[in-house]
Subunit: 136 residues, 2 copies
DNA sequence: TGGAAATCAGAACGAATCAGTCTGATTAGA
DNA sequence: TCTAATCAGACTGATTCGTTCTGATTTCCA
């Protein structure tokens, strides 16, 4: 139940990008400078976040990236799923995956989607605005 | 955001034990037989669950274990914390741990406890009774 | 128009955690 | 007192995660 470090960094990055939303696009170096995240890691995360549609990146000299959507429209669940993949607490809730070994006589399997939705709902109710809203 | 396999197995085990609650204590072999979990793994989990106070184990020939508390008083959060440790989505919400490297100028840190409580609350609201209630 | 610099994007390496197995200590029963 | 069955803890192998490095692409400047 611990978030991976990459997802944690991604949340910090997105929050930082949200604070720069009014300004022009920012580059990875600025993010690394402000947050303290190693630059290569920032670059890696930018790739994943932009391919997930959360960031809009511009390449070349003077390039950078910015939020593809308003901060209020980006939830924690979006960021986590962009980095870690679908939020599936167990293997049996992922559609198409049947490598549990316990299937067939598992009495708990039917209840996992309920649990999964509860957790995912809690993460989907938190957006970037509420995360960076109380900043100084 | 995926649960570890051990925690998943633990939930299945506890659910199976809850169904045998009215009967006498059951042993690890029966659990392995009914659930399909390998016997050594069941033994390992019994150790952790009993040391966490969720199971009451009796050693020696004819021994076994049973739920230490009523099924309604055991939540998913209890089981997960017994296997994986405290539910802390990030390192900074764990009291006493300060190995994040971003501390000091992290604008998101203040908001993680809120997220953590939301997720933990979703797991604490689900007990063993509701998990095994609709069984055939 | 050509060159150069800066950026993002993908691939490779090392480390840490996790899952599983095995052996030993303990205890009840005969 | 001896035997057998159980739980409890320690070890090994494998998978995944985190980080770093190198390369392809694009814009700006001369």
């Amino acid at each position: 139940m611990r978030l991976s470090s990459l997802a944690d960094y991604a949340v910090v990055m997105m929050s930082t990008a949200a604070r720069h939303c009014g300004h022009a696009q920012i580059n990875a170096g600025v993010i690394a400078e402000e947050t303290g995240i190693p630059l290569p890691t920032v670059q890696k995360l930018v790739s994943k976040l932009s391919s997930a549609g959360l960031l809009r990146s511009v390449r070349g000299a003077g390039g950078g990236f910015k939020l593809a959507r308003p901060a209020a429209a980006v939830s924690l669940a979006d960021i986590i799923e962009a980095i870690e993949g679908p939020i599936a607490m167990t293997a049996c809730v992922e559609s198409g995956k049947h490598d549990c070994g316990l299937e067939g006589n598992c009495r708990v399997q039917a209840h996992w989607p309920m649990v999964n939705n509860a957790v995912r709902g809690a993460l989907a109710n938190i957006n970037l605005t509420s995360l960076s809203g109380a900043h100084a």
